[in-house]
């Protein structure tokens, strides 16, 4: 079956929230509402004519008005595939600090989605509700923020590990005295590392650099659910 036949079959089965096929992209995709995602995935997996045994990627994209979660499904049996998207609209004033979209998990339907969903949470801050093992997968568990968001503020250090180009090394030739002398070279009051504003402004995202990094907690700490 091609994609439009799969979608019409989903409609015949009485599944709601299934949008029109969009062929503007290289991979034609269909947008499904978050509420009916699990029912649609169950149908696509179990229906004999669809038989999508394999989910080979879950990814997410941040756009100006939304975050899209993209599921790539394919069938070994029938040699067809389908791309499913769930679009989470950005609320008014929704930023990295205060907005994390929620999508129901499909990890119990497709086991492969387990780690992929954790990755999307880790890097883009998409919450997958009822996920069996919901925590970060790549970054350290105590990491703050989700780095692939467009308005992410780059950290200057993590747990004492300097992450900036001109950070003062933890060890220098000459021992602690040399490190102290290097630190003393900086004017009083200036932070040890560069303020994150230097690298955080991304022109393509329309992101604005914060005026001052001092006294400002830019990224709220994560809490699952």
């Amino acid at each position: 079956m091609n994609e439009s036949e799969i979608i019409s079959r989903m409609r015949e089965a009485g599944l709601g929230g299934v949008g029109e096929l969009d062929t503007s992209a290289a991979d034609p995709f269909v947008v499904i509402e978050a509420d009916s995602l699990r029912a649609a995935m169950l149908f696509l997996r179990d229906d004999e004519a669809c038989a999508m045994e394999m989910m080979h990627c879950v990814t997410a994209t941040e756009r100006k008005a939304s975050i899209e979660v993209v599921y790539h499904l394919c069938s070994y049996e029938h040699h067809h595939s389908l791309t499913v998207k769930v679009i989470c609209e950005r609320p008014e004033g929704g930023t990295h600090d205060n907005w994390r979209p929620a999508v129901p998990t499909v990890a119990d339907i497709y086991a492969a989605a387990n780690w992929h969903e954790r990755e999307q949470y880790d890097l883009l801050g998409v919450i997958f509700t009822d996920h069996p093992d919901f925590r970060r997968i790549l970054l350290p568990q105590e990491w703050i923020g989700h780095p692939l968001r467009k308005d992410y503020i780059y950290p200057s250090e993590h747990g004492g590990i300097p992450l900036e180009l001109d950070a003062i090394p933890l060890y220098m030739e000459g021992g602690e005295e040399a490190v102290a002398a290097k630190k003393a070279e900086r004017p009083a009051g200036e932070p040890l590392n560069q303020p994150p504003s230097k690298y955080s402004a991304r022109p393509d995202a329309g992101g604005k650099a914060p005026e001052s990094s001092e006294g400002k907690v830019n990224n709220s700490r994560d809490s699952a659910h």
Partner: protein
């Protein structure tokens, strides 16, 4: 006491002993079995038959930092890995040497601007003796780095005070200790 404090004068006896010890050390460098990313593939090529690092006495990678003299850091060091690299370095016994292999380890490489997670050079974490740039460096480049390290190891002073000649060399070349 003079040995411990490195304050023995430079004379024919201490020079000779230093020379022998330095020759022994540089001829049997034991690197640690340690690889992080793609540079490790080139490092393995250096150990293997085509390039055969054993010609220079450094071809037996040890599986524990306790037995190693040299840690080659091949690959991107990120925030999670930096803790481990530092711990492995701390576990090595003196004298210990570090080779930073590849662009990422020398200064961030392709992650220098948008690498939210990358340590921009392993010299931020541990002291580095030799930098080998490249993405990844050719095996010949790493071998050249190891040969330069051999020169450095051979000139270490174990028993005597640092001579004026050594300081002069250091000033001139920066690299020789």
């Amino acid at each position: 006491m003079g040995i411990l404090n490195n304050t023995l004068p430079s004379n024919i006896a201490t020079d000779a002993v230093d020379g022998v010890i330095g020759w022994g050390r540089k001829s049997s460098i034991w690197p640690m079995t340690f690889g992080i990313a793609c540079c490790a593939i080139e490092m393995m090529a250096v150990y293997a038959a085509t390039f055969d690092l054993d010609r220079f006495g450094a071809g037996v990678p040890r599986a524990t930092p306790r037995q190693s003299d040299l840690i080659i850091v091949p690959g991107t060091v990120n925030a999670k890995m930096a803790v481990r690299v530092r711990r492995l370095y701390d576990q090595m016994a003196e004298p210990r040497y570090v080779i930073a292999m590849g662009a990422c380890v020398c200064g961030g490489g392709p992650y220098v601007k948008w690498g939210y997670n990358t340590v921009k050079g392993v010299h931020k974490i541990i002291p580095v003796d030799i930098f080998v740039p490249g993405c990844p460096p050719r095996p010949e480049a790493l071998m050249d780095g190891i040969l330069k390290l051999r020169d450095k190891v051979g000139q270490d002073e174990v028993f005597r005070r640092r001579s004026d000649t050594a300081k002069d060399l250091e000033r001139r070349y920066g690299m020789i200790k």
